[in-house]
């Protein structure tokens, strides 16, 4: 599924990587526990999290995650955006809860990792 379509269905706002919305993601993983995210070895993964800090971006960087959705419109800092851009990571903010975004993406055909 194209990231552009995902942005639409979760009422997302793109705060980094707007030039890469033609990219596609097939699978998603939702967690606030970065150690758990770091155990996932799946390419083209979307990370859905409510943990909004630099370590969420660094975790995505180390795990080759190309797209992060931060739920509940939590504030993304300039430093986070800088590191995301450096690593071509798309950041989307959604006003919805983790549960709701998970449900929407699942219904749209995004697959779980486990």
């Amino acid at each position: 599924m194209k990231v552009q379509e995902i942005v639409g269905i979760i009422k997302g706002t793109v705060v980094s990587g707007a030039e890469n919305l033609e990219n596609t993601v097939d699978m998603a993983f939702a967690s606030d526990l970065m150690s758990d995210v770091l155990t996932v070895k799946t390419d083209n993964l979307l990370l859905l999290t409510g943990l909004v800090n630099i370590q969420a971006i660094r975790t995505a960087e180390m795990s080759d995650i190309s797209c992060i959705v931060f739920v509940r419109n939590k504030k993304v800092t300039e430093e986070m955006i800088r590191i995301a851009k450096e690593n071509k990571i798309i950041i989307i903010q959604s006003p919805y809860s983790m549960f709701k975004v998970s449900g929407i993406l699942f219904s749209a055909g995004i697959k779980p990792v486990f």
Binding site: M34, S35, K41, Q55, E61, S63, D64
Partner: protein
């Protein structure tokens, strides 16, 4: 590089979560430039990043030294800190002595050491209580 060898060192400051991940990020960029296999890169930087977060979470300060030659990457993380009393117990999934602050950063669930083990070809941890911990990670470029 005429010798085929590279060496890097990074300082790590205990408690400074905003800087955590910079050394891992630099190592990742270097390995990419050297055209190392993507899976090896991911395993290496995940192990390194977990180890780095452990220094930030538990120690006062540390030094990461990275040596790269044509066949492998050797990473040595030495910290000054409280050390690990029971390494075997610390390797158990779910065992953690992390503070609530560390947990708020998305870590401290007791998964780090086992995740490091999964992602390292060779992992060696030695520790002295009250002094510090030394972690050695070696990954080979050709499996």
């Amino acid at each position: 590089m005429s010798t085929g060898k590279m060496h890097f060192e990074y300082q790590v400051e205990g408690g400074n979560f905003s800087a955590a991940g910079f050394p891992s990020s630099q190592v990742k960029k270097t390995l990419k430039q050297l055209n190392v296999d993507g899976n090896v890169i991911r395993r290496t930087v995940v192990a390194l990043y977990e180890a780095e977060v452990n220094i930030v979470a538990h120690a006062y300060n540390g030094i990461i030294s990275v040596d790269i030659d044509t066949e492998k990457i050797t990473i040595l993380l030495k910290d000054e800190g409280p050390g690990i009393a029971d390494i075997k117990k610390a390797m158990e999934i779910g065992y953690s002595t992390a503070t609530p602050e560390v947990r708020e950063m998305g870590f401290g669930a007791g998964m780090g050491l086992s995740n490091m083990k999964t992602n390292a070809d060779h992992l060696n941890i030695t520790s002295e209580v009250g002094k510090g911990t030394i972690v050695e990670i070696i990954n080979y470029f050709h499996q």
